[in-house]
């Protein structure tokens, strides 16, 4: 699904965010990216949906060559991915239903499919009865669940999340993790950057630790490994 071979990222200002990255992630895996602030986790995540272009190396996602891909193909790469952020990024003037349907609308999905898929993902994230609400009428956890619903409504092969529980309290975070677990159980690959030690320790999934732009640990069933 994801293949990195000696990937390096140097930002325009000369900062080396990632160096000598070698990673293989297979279909159906659940992967945590951990590491101190500034380690390069977000850079790693952003390269996967080509928000950031690697400076050198080989990077393929869903069989697509990210580095040599033309700009015209980027939208089609992204349709095979679901992206989730710490700050939810919902549209405030659209309802829950509209926010989710928006992701299908802009890739010109047929309308028959739209209603079915949106209702389906509303069930998965447990927000069917709030479909008419606007984001400011929801709690943080609920907003993040809407964002997750939007990310999975087009049935992506990989879900990528950058600190999805970063703004949430522990209990709400567990609700989010339960949703990730069930998405993962249906065969979707998940890559998630996080600072949440409790979650990583409890889940016992694959952990990739990055420090100063390099991978320092890659365990199939690991814990967070840091004290904070």
């Amino acid at each position: 699904m994801i293949h990195m071979n000696d990937v390096m990222k140097v930002y325009d200002n000369g900062a080396i965010a990632l160096n000598h990255i070698n990673v293989d992630i297979k279909k159906g895996e659940f992967v945590f990216l951990v590491g101190p602030s500034g380690a390069g986790k977000s850079t790693f995540i952003k390269m996967l949906f080509r928000e950031v272009l690697p400076s050198s190396g080989i990077l393929t996602v869903n069989g697509r060559d990210i580095i040599h891909m033309s700009n015209r193909d980027v939208p089609f790469l992204r349709r095979s991915l679901g992206v989730i952020f710490q700050d939810y990024r919902l549209l405030p003037d659209k309802t829950v239903y509209e926010n989710i349907a928006f992701a299908m609308q802009v890739i010109e999905a047929p309308r028959r499919m739209m209603q079915r898929n949106v209702n389906n993902v509303l069930d998965i994230v447990g927000l069917r009865d709030k479909y008419k609400c606007f984001p400011n009428q929801l709690s943080g956890g609920e907003q993040q669940r809407v964002a997750i619903a939007r990310a999975i409504v087009n049935n992506p092969a990989i879900v990528i999340a950058d600190e999805p529980t970063g703004n949430l309290d522990p209990e709400t975070s567990w609700g989010i993790m339960d949703i990730f677990k069930s998405i993962n159980a249906s065969g979707t690959t998940i890559v998630m950057a996080t600072h949440d030690k409790t979650i990583v320790d409890a889940m016992q999934k694959r952990v990739i630790a990055i420090e100063n732009g390099e991978i320092v640990r890659d365990e199939a069933r690991g814990g967070y490994g840091y004290e904070h």
């Binding site: 949906f49 015209r72 992204r78 992206v83 990024r89 928006f102 609308q105 802009v106 010109e108 087009n154």
Partner: protein, 295 residues
Amino acid sequence: MNINTVEYFVREVMHSLKRNNWMSVASIGTVAVSLFIFGMFLMLVMNMNKMVDTMESQVQIKVYLEDDFSREDAKDLEKELKQMQGVEKVTFVTKEEAMEKFKERLGDQKTLLDALDETNPLPDSFEVMVLQPEMVKTAAENIEKFEGVDSAKYGQDVMEHLFDITRLIRIFGFALMMVLALATLFIISNTIRLTVFARRKEIAIMKYVGATDWFIRWPFVLEGIVMGFLGSIIASVVLRLTYSGITAKIYDTLAFFPLIPEEPFLTYVTLIVVIGGMIMGAIGSTVSIKRFLKV
């Protein structure tokens, strides 16, 4: 593009026009004013062209005879005129015939002539057709030397003036239209830029979920076209009213002044103005998207 998408675009455009209320109104207003002035110049130039054409086709000299010149002498003069070089045809017009023609041209305003109390101030005359326009001037000069000829008139000097004026109007109009077009493009692209700015979050999300660049651009281009269209409709309506008004005024005062009839002329002008407005809208928004929307 499926129906669903078209519907979505239409909704987005309406939404955006409402959101940028005042800027939209300002843009549409600017387009309307620009296109109105453009339309006025267009109609002016076309009317002047028509005037020049009608005058050019009349390579005819009007020979007015002195009042006391008898009809018999006129017969002799007609023979002499016919023998002149370059003269194609000579027609005698009695003062009575001239009056009849004049009444015909006046049409509804015949009553104006009541003031004359049945007297006829028009002289007898000849209409002399010349073979080539270049001969008109010398022929007229020669004819004026004949006995009994009061004056020989032709449209040459009027035509030359008309040419000069038309040329001036064309140059001035063209320069003005360029300035107006630039101003219009500027304000449309500014409005679109505001729209892009207002929707930057939405655009970012569209990109994350895999919308193509063109899908993102289309609503903005459409918004520009709609603004151009609405502006041009306003301009067209005002242009039509103005032209009808002027035509009516001129028929009232200068019955025989040859303005181009309203139809189908106004239909063509409307078409040009509307298409022009939509093109300006499309260009204005495309320029703005190129610069402000890095998709």
